[in-house]
Every structure is written in C-alpha cells, then in structure tokens.
Symmetry: C2
Subunit: 326 residues, 2 copies
C-alpha cells in the first residue's frame, strides 16, 4: 500500500509536507498541495487510519453499546446514529451487552482501548448505577439514550415517557372506556416509572380513580402480558394502556381467548410502535418513540459536545384497537 512517504519521494519533498498538504494545512503552497493531491490519486493513496489514530491519540470511531441489536427499537436507533456520524466522518463500532453488566464492562473497556472518540450507551437492565461506566470511560465523551443513569453527568436522550403515557391514556378515556388498567413494566427503570406516572396523571386529570389493583407490574414480554390481560379481565377492566408492545400483544391473546371484541368490548394502546403492531388484527394503537430520530439526536449531541438532556416526543398512532363505537 502506498504511504505518504511514497508520495513525498515521488515529488522530491518530505512526508511532513505531504501530510500537511493532505490535511489542507495553510502552511503549504497551493501549488504543491495540488501536486500532492494529484500524485496521491495517481498512486491510489488511502490514509492509514490506524497510524493516524495512534499519532493523534484518538480514532474516528464512535462506540454504540446496546442491550440487543435484534430489537427493532435499537436497530433503528443505530440506523439514525450511523447516518449522522457517517456524514461527519465517523464510523461506528457496535457492542451488544445481552442485558449483562459484565458484558457492558467488557464492551466499554474494548472501546476505551480503541481510543474511540465517544460512546453512545443504553445500559443493560440489571445495571443499578453508572459507576462502572464513569470508571472505565473517564473523560471519553458519553451520550446516554433511552435507558440512562440519572447519576451520570453528560448528555441524555430520552423519550417523553410521561407525556406519551398521558396522551395514550387520555385517548382511551376520550374514546369512552371507563375502567382503564395498565401493564406497567419494571419499576427499576426510570422509563417505566415515568410511564406509570403519565397514566396516573391522565386518570386523575379526568377525574377517574387511580386503582393500584389494576396496575400490572413486571410484565414486559408476551407471556407475562397474557397473564396481565387475564387479570385485567377478571378485575373488570375495559381497556389497557401497556408500557410495552410485546406485553400488549400477550394481553390481546388473552382478550381474544376470552371472546372479548377489540375495540368494542376492550380497548388497548401500547408504547412502542414495533412493526408488528400495525399487522395485528385488529391493528394496535401505539406510541411511536421515533427511535431513528433518537439515534440521530444522540449522534448530534456527541458531535456538538452537548451535555443536556433532550426529550424525544412520542406520537400517538390511533389504529383499530382503541376505536370504540360509542
């Protein structure tokens, strides 16, 4: 492979001048800059980024650490982040933690060893605080998204969980449902706490009672959603706001099994506009979290060196599952 020394030799100048010429340094004469660029093209020169990174002490790589890549939400976040970062000349190194803090620690160390320019992180669910992150990353720029450690400084990009849940619940109320339960997720996670708060706020602002008996916690996958659905039927609910789409899917399984018609007898709205929700019958009303935009926003926060918390609004998508004919 050709190096800057090859170019320098071919032109009878030194590698330092070639380096500066290629970097657009104003200290080199226009004439020689053109000559260098021409020769570089002629010899098919491509900068050795490894050498460049070593000398400069940092790479043009941004690490993205996420629980799992298969999840539609995260792969969309990555897509958004990558778009912005590529435009800015960065590349993306992706690490999956599989929801394990150990793997998260390993991933962060790896990224640190690569001297990445920054890290975009959505932490594993079993992480209690961000001490390990701070300790490993030290002064490497960090942007957290979706799942964030409140105790860690720096940029945080989160969804409008409370507002979204409020909107979804309010929509059910306005559609005429009377006893609205919620599948609430895990209370160890900030995002789910906020969603529950939004649900409660909507009920109270409409003058409806908040009943802890119809709050179904710790349900997040299809199976536990199914069980929550059965309980909601028994408890006399006629609607559910679910903090997750997969648990809502499980709940509709239960509703169908018990012969309840959606949306006539029972209304359902869920957070997370996963692709399958529009394909269910009846199609599920959801809150779109705009994962692609979340990724873009996180990437921009890194590029701009922002340290702010930014909130990505959620958008209610009304489909059949909540259209009660009054």
């Amino acid at each position: 492979m050709t190096t800057i020394t090859d170019i320098a030799n071919a032109l009878g100048i030194t590698p330092s001048t070639v380096s500066r010429a290629l970097a657009g340094n104003p200290r080199v004469k226009e004439e020689t800059r053109v000559a260098v660029e021409k020769m570089a093209k002629l010899l098919g020169y491509e900068r050795n980024v490894v050498a460049s990174n070593l000398r400069k002490g940092q790479s043009h790589i941004v690490g993205i650490v996420i629980p799992r890549i298969h999840r539609e939400f995260f792969s969309n976040v990555i897509g958004g982040a990558e778009r912005i970062l590529n435009q800015a000349g960065y590349n993306v190194l992706i690490c999956q933690t599989m929801e394990s803090v150990e793997a998260e620690i390993k991933a962060l160390k790896t990224l640190k060893n690569y001297r990445v320019a920054g890290v975009l992180l959505s932490h594993a669910i079993d992480a209690l605080n961000g001490n390990h992150v701070k300790e490993i990353l030290e002064d490497t720029p960090l942007v957290q998204f979706d799942r964030v450690f409140p105790d860690l400084p720096g940029a945080k990009i989160v969804g409008a969980n409370c507002e979204g849940a409020f909107q979804a619940t309010m929509h059910l109320i306005q559609a005429g449902y009377k006893r609205i339960g919620t599948i609430a997720g895990f209370m160890t996670s900030q995002a789910y706490i906020e969603r529950l708060a939004g649900y409660r706020l909507a009920l109270e602002s409409a003058g409806l009672p908040f009943d802890p008996a119809i709050v179904y916690e710790n349900a997040i996958v299809r199976e536990t959603g199914y069980e929550a659905g059965l309980k909601a039927i028994d408890a006399g609910c006629d609607a559910l706001y679910s903090a997750g789409a997969f648990s809502a899917l499980g709940a509709t399984d239960a509703l169908k099994e018990k012969g309840l018609r959606i949306p006539e007898d029972f209304g359902v709205v869920a957070t997370s506009n996963e692709g399958f929700t529009s394909l269910m019958s009846p199609a599920l009303s959801t809150l779109n979290q705009h994962p692609f935009e979340m990724g873009e926003t996180a990437a921009r926060a890194f590029l701009e060196g922002s340290r702010e918390t930014q909130v990505i609004p959620m958008e209610l998508i009304v489909r059949q599952s909540s259209k009660k004919q009054q």
Copy 2:
C-alpha cells in the same frame, strides 16, 4: 493511561520483555511473566490496540457490510456473527450500504483503511458484479453471505433457496391446493432465481404444469405484493408461494379485501420467517432462513479461513395460512 513502558520501568526491565510476557511468549521466564502480569493489573494496564494494530499491520476488527440494519434478517445475521467473533477476540464494525453500490465502495474502502482482519459482505441489490469488491479488498479475507457474487472467489454462505422453495410449494400441493402461483422477486439476484427454480421443480415433480402467467416477478414489498395478489386472484390461483414475507403480506391484504378466506379458499407460504408473520391472522406459514446461524457460519468461515460455499437449510414452519381443510 499506563503503557508497557510504565510496567517495564516499575520492574526495572525493558518494554520488549513486558510485551513478550503479556503475549505469553515462551522465551520469557515464568517468574518475570507473573511479575509483569501482577504489575499490569496493579497499574490498570490495558493494551493500546491502536498501537498494536499499527505495528502488526492488521486489526482485530471484522467489518460487516450489509444493505440495511433495520431488517430483521440482517440484524439477526449480525447478532450471530458478533457472538462468534467476540468469542474469538474480534470486534465488529458495521457499515450499511442502503442498497447503493457507491456506499458499498465507500464502506469497503473505509474498512480497508482500518486494516480490518476480514470482511463479511451481503452486497447491495443494484450491484451487478463483484469487481469493485475485489479491487478494493485485494487480499483482505472476504466471506459473502445471503447475497453473493458468484464470480468472486472465497467463502459464501447461502440459504437453501431451491430446496426451501421446493419444500414450501410441495407443502401447498399436499395440502390440496390446485393452482399455485408465485411471487418471485427480482431475477437479477441469484437467491430469487433459485427460489423460482425450486417452485418449478416441485410443480413438475408433482405432475402439475408450470405456468409463467402466474409467476409474478419484481414484487418484494407490501405494495407490489398486493398487486401480485390481485393478479393471482384474477388468474384463478388458489395458493401462492412468495419468495419474500413482505410481498406475501401484501398479497394477503388483497385476498382479504376480495373476501377470500385463508386458508380455506386460498393458501399462502412465504420465505423469511420475519417476526410479524406469526402475528398475522391467520398466521403465515414461512420458511425460516435461520439468519442467526447464517451469521455464526459466516463468522466461523472467516475464522477458519474457509473458501467453501456453505448452505444453510431452511425450515418450513406451517401455520394457519396453508392449512386447508380438505
């Protein structure tokens, strides 16, 4: 950050010995090796992989180039590949081409500049041949998967397209459907050509006529699948084998709209066991391509330096959409 020189100074030895000790070189005394490792731990040493990569002329990064990360199939392939590669001490740099050859060229150049240890590639749909790949990558190890250039040497991991389509079509025949059409995808891609061949083979081996009038090419997304569905109804079909899941979804839209019952009046089977297919009603029978395994296999092929073509079998998953009550 601590370097091997720091360790060397602390122990009164030279960096070269430290380097050898950490690399497990048998030429260093067991005693000093232990001392070095102890000191390394004490000082919190982490190898600077950038410097290491520069010296060794290659990194422990494997590049994965794919059309789009959001597609369930590809994100699962990545998941599988990453699992194997991480185990072997490699990291993964992911590049999306967005189906554009230009972006593919850029991605390959970037990876080459990072001196990646190898590349896993599934090419953009508008690429006609692999000349650009060969030209850029030169002697960097390459493993192609799913979408492969036949003219390029080296390892290729593909699905059992022909066999899968054969199996799916045969299943429809055995279920009692009489006039089976196909949504065939793009004939510029080897995978779709093979699927069509498998479909045809099944018909002929069952003594059924192959009728080009009920082969619907160039349909791959929901919209074009819908149109193909309408045409199939007009052509008197009572079943469809679709080479893609999204086009099958569109076809079922058309069938429902025209009041046909699935599976009683019309059977559907599709390649690609996308997550949504099990959630449709009726649930769609599909061929599971085992994307996670495909990723694992591709990664292993790289690690082993294989140059073979490996075929990942497809598995027929029979759901409601093809269960005719005869």
